[in-house]
């Protein structure tokens, strides 16, 4: 938590969006849009490592959301805030943002309070998209916290006919979206996670609450949308997944 706080506090120094939005509740300030991209700042587990001094949850930040929200703005009618936000699971304001994005969740650790908060958030109607974790070891690390959130709800493959794959784009042809390293290595998978999985956790009424994008890196595809070397079709597909998840979250 200390690291999260330090990271959030350091955010405004680089002039990027998101971290400067920590608001004083006494101030009346207009919300910048109906939808604001919120990145979940979680605690890291003991096996996680920082890269260039950044926490795992900061991966791809801020370019990923910077590019993605412009895509949302261009391709949909969603009134989108230009800048994103960063919130921790225990932040009270989390309830004002019914859509969350968490990256590198193979490194996350949720204590009991955070798990309970996330469970409450999701059951009230919030939506969580997790992304960029690979291989069986990271899956286990992800599930060790996710099972605290929902000990009794199964993680299932999202059926091909689920509205999440059709709400705005028909995503019948789904391929693994690789990280930037694919440009150099030519390999689309990481850490043994060869097969991509689009999984989810549903509520009692059959509504998707958590979209689990395993063995793929949608965030990297958003982040590198302006890289000439990154395949355009991967970026386009990543946008489509993100937009479908968002529209699904706003309609179901």
């Amino acid at each position: 938590m200390v690291l999260i706080a330090v990271a959030i506090a350091c955010g405004p120094a680089d002039g990027q969006e998101g971290s400067g939005e920590r608001s004083d509740p006494r101030l009346k300030r207009e919300s910048p849009g109906e939808f604001q991209f919120v990145r979940l700042a979680y605690s890291s587990n003991s096996y996680s490592r920082q890269w260039r001094g950044r926490q795992p949850w900061q991966t791809d930040w801020p370019d990923a959301e910077h590019h993605f929200v412009r895509g949302i703005d261009r391709l949909t009618r969603v009134a989108t805030a230009e800048k994103g936000r960063i919130l921790t699971p225990l932040d009270e304001e989390i309830y004002d943002y019914p859509w969350l994005y968490a990256v590198e969740v193979g490194n996350w650790y949720l204590n009991d309070d955070e798990a309970a908060r996330l469970r409450d958030y999701l059951l009230r109607g919030g939506f969580l998209m997790v992304d960029d974790f690979h291989g069986s070891w990271e899956w286990s690390a992800f599930m060790s916290s996710m099972e605290k959130v929902f000990p009794d709800r199964p993680v299932v493959d999202i059926p091909a006919d689920d509205a999440a794959f059709h709400v705005i784009y028909d995503l019948d042809h789904r391929i693994q979206i690789p990280s930037r390293m694919f440009i150099y290595s030519g390999v689309t998978y990481e850490k043994g996670g060869v097969t991509p999985h689009w999984r989810g956790i549903y509520d009692d009424d059959g509504r998707l609450m958590v979209s689990i994008n395993f063995n793929m890196d949608i965030g990297d595809a958003w982040e590198h949308a302006d890289w000439p070397d990154y395949p355009e079709n991967m970026t386009a597909l990543a946008y489509r997944f993100g937009i479908n998840y968002l529209i699904y979250a706003m309609t179901h």
Partner: protein, 744 residues
């Protein structure tokens, strides 16, 4: 005294004209007057030196007055009066023999009435008229004489009864009607038109009011008003009016059949009057519900029949359809749908514009529904019971579609809800659209950005506090507290002025003060709502999962919207609560809600016992597609009505309803004397109102009635003692003055 001096009563003078019956020629009278004037003048002239002018003038005036009085006596002044010819006229004695006349403390109202009516005809000095006797209840009947039987009429129809008596007397001389009644009319109080119609016969009606205006030891459940239609699982508000004549406390109990649903304590604060209370009743199952509302008896209360009323509520089992047209994906859309997802009676079909060129549909019945976008025909739109328009620009719909929405509200009777949004309400140009008249507010122009993503609390207005739509708790204080504890809504939109006929249910407590947040107005056959926020979803996200206020708000709002939308066919039955006849009204419209004016309607009324009657239904000349009929039910119980519309002998539509009828119950309500009605009736017809035992003068009133066969009565007044006393006074005065002055 007056009569001793002037021979007759003041009333005699009041109703008489003064004529002169002396047959002296006019020249003689004029000559006498001139002669008198000359003699007085000569008398004064001769004494002009011995007396002052004041003395001369005083004596002269006295002499002239005396001579003028003598000439007036010679003219033989006489009173002429039209009076009824005895033996050739009739009076009608009408006694109210309805069941309410059995009330009374020491003697019954009926006995009081008979005793007072007897003095009209039987007492000394009573004029000799033929007397007709009538008993008046739900109808009137002539009887040879009154008998002291138990009054048991199961209703009172003053208007119909008096008209019958008057119609019967149209061709015979009826001098007056003397009515003894408590004035309680189970057909409703006489209105001004009915009184005028009775007065047009020109027959005075003298009313004797029996009974008490106030009965402190009695409570009366005067009225229970509930919606005749409700949705399963919904809570209906019943308005209960209690008549009382003392400050008291009681309880209202509500039963559904034999099941006790609710007990509500009520404080009756006023000394005397009607106290209104609201009772919320939850009706879970579909089908007819016979609700009985009952008041606890108070100390000393003996008449308990008027403490209870029953009414029938039909809980519809059909599913209502709502069309929600939204211009952008937003959280309100999601959470509203979720709030009513479990409501089996509501279906929300949505048309959501997700991208500039793509619509997303949810809740549709079939792939063809809304396939072409927003409906363009009445058939397509009018199949919905309610319409929600969100953050959509008015320009996204054609003028014809806007007009269609207007017709949806005014003609079809649907409910429209417009929700705030960056592209909605004023921002969307709806204030300049064909819907501007429909909306309950004057929207600001598009040049002003009226939508603000600022969190604000929603505050109940007094009207909102009373609204069932905004009720989270039956208790008013608890409900107000619940609203105060609600999280802020996520945004609000500034509306213009609220229209005069509109009701503001919620305000937004903004930095600029209170602004209307939820406004409602009726428009044509339907209703238009404006909700100036798209941020009630915060109630769901910011409150514990177990808290259902967000769900309750949307369910109650949407249910209220669809419940008020009429069907294409409807059948209403009214009037059964208090006995009397049941008025039936059937309305038939086609799928586009155009009146069906080329049909005939056949109605069958079936009693719960199996008895069936066919009722004639006649078209309403004022309203196309509407047919009316009346049933005078022969007994109590539930009646089931089925109206079949037929075209060329083939049935084209059917409407059904049912009603609980309680014969005779009305007489045990309205048991207080309605003095006002009796006084109005007497005053309008030229009669007089009497309290029992104070019928002095009634004989004269009857004798000199303006109605019937009359004769002219001449009564000289020249020989009244007052005239001779006047002459004596004038002559004595002159004598005393002249004696005192000794100069004249």
């Amino acid at each position: 005294m007056f009569e001793a001096l002037f021979k007759y009563t003041p009333a005699d003078y009041a109703r008489s004209e003064l004529v002169y019956t002396g047959d002296w020629p006019a020249w003689l009278i004029v000559g006498l007057a001139l002669g008198a004037f000359f003699l007085v003048g000569l008398f004064l002239f001769q004494r002009r030196r011995s007396a002052s002018w004041v003395q001369l003038l005083s004596v002269g005036l006295l002499q002239l007055s005396m001579l003028a009085t003598l000439i007036w006596v010679l003219l033989q002044p006489t009173l002429t009066t039209e009076r009824l010819r005895e033996g050739e006229n009739a009076i009608a004695l009408v006694v109210d023999n309805s069941a309410s006349m059995s009330y009374g403390v020491e003697e019954s109202r009926f006995a009081t009435a008979l005793r007072n009516l007897a003095t009209v005809t039987d007492a000394d000095g009573a004029p000799r008229f033929s007397v007709r006797h009538y008993e008046l209840g739900p109808s009137v009947r002539a009887v040879p004489s009154f008998t002291e039987s138990l009054p048991d009429g199961d209703g009172t129809d003053l208007y119909g009864g008096l008209l019958s008596v008057l119609e019967e007397a149209r061709f015979s001389p009826l001098a007056a009607i003397v009515l003894a009644s408590d004035g309680a009319d189970t057909r409703g109080r006489l209105d001004a038109g009915q009184v005028a119609e009775i007065a047009n016969f020109g027959v005075p009606i003298h009313a004797i009011g029996v009974g008490r205006d106030t009965i402190p030891e009695d409570l009366e459940l005067q009225e229970v008003t509930v919606p005749d239609k409700a949705l399963p699982g919904s809570t209906v508000s019943a308005r209960v009016a209690i008549r009382h004549d003392a400050p008291l406390e009681t309880r209202i109990k509500v039963y559904d059949g034999e099941d006790l649903l609710q007990i509500v304590p009520v404080a009756l604060v006023a000394e005397s009057g009607v106290t209104t209370a609201w009772v919320e009743v939850e009706l879970s199952d579909a089908g007819p519900h016979q609700l009985r509302f009952s008041l606890d008896a108070i100390d000393g209360e003996t008449e308990l029949r008027n403490n209870s009323r029953s009414t029938l509520v039909n809980v519809a089992s059909e599913r209502y359809r709502i069309l929600y047209f939204e211009g952008e994906p937003r959280w309100e859309y999601k959470f509203m749908r979720r709030a009513v997802a479990d409501d089996e009676d509501l279906v929300i079909a949505t048309l959501l514009r997700v991208s500039p060129n793509k619509f997303y549909r949810q809740g549709i019945d079939n792939p063809e529904e809304l396939e072409g976008g927003f409906p363009t025909t009445a058939d397509e739109l009018f199949r919905y019971d309610a319409l929600i328009i969100g953050s959509v620009e008015a320009a996204s719909l054609t003028p014809a579609q806007q007009q269609l929405i207007r017709d949806f509200v005014s003609e079809r009777g649907g409910s429209l809800l417009m929700i705030a949004g960056p592209n909605g309400l004023g921002n969307g140009g709806w204030g300049q659209s064909a819907l501007a008249d429909v909306l309950p507010v004057l929207l600001p122009p598009t040049t002003t950005d009226s939508f603000h993503r600022l969190k604000v609390p929603a505050r109940l207005t007094p009207q909102g506090q009373a609204s069932q739509v905004l009720r989270f708790a039956a208790d008013n204080t608890a409900n107000r507290d619940a609203w105060l504890e609600l999280p802020e809504v996520a945004d609000y939109q500034v509306l213009g002025n609220v229209k005069p006929a509109a009701i503001t249910l919620l305000n937004a407590d903004t930095q600029d003060g209170l602004l209307p947040l939820m406004v409602l107005q009726p428009y044509g056959r339907g209703h238009a709502y404006v909700l100036a926020t798209g941020g009630t979803w915060r109630w769901q996200m910011s409150m514990p999962l177990e808290d259902l206020k967000h769900e309750i708000f949307w369910r109650q709002l949407l249910r209220a919207m669809v419940a008020s939308a009429p069907e294409t066919v409807s059948l209403a039955a009214a009037g059964g609560q208090e006995g009397g006849s049941i008025a039936l009204r059937a309305e038939f419209r086609d799928d586009a809600f155009a009146p069906m004016d080329d049909i005939g309607v056949r109605l069958v009324a079936s009693h719960e016992s199996g008895e069936a009657l066919t009722i004639a239904m006649l078209p309403d000349t004022a309203e196309a597609g509407v047919f009316a009929g009346e049933l005078l039910p022969p007994g109590s119980g539930t009646w089931y009505f089925e109206a079949v519309a037929e075209r060329n002998g083939e049935p084209v539509a059917v409407a059904r309803t049912s009603l609980l009828h309680e014969s005779g119950a009305a007489e045990h309500f309205k048991i207080r004397r309605d003095t006002g009605t009796l006084e109005r009736l007497a005053a309008a017809t030229g009669g007089r109102y009497f309290e029992p035992g104070t019928l002095d003068g009634v004989h004269d009133l009857l004798r000199y009635s303006s109605s019937g066969i009359t004769e002219t009565e001449y009564r000289p007044i020249w020989n009244a003692p007052a005239v001779f006393l006047l002459l004596l006074f004038l002559k004595a005065g002159e004598w005393l003055l002249r004696r005192r002055w000794s100069t004249i």
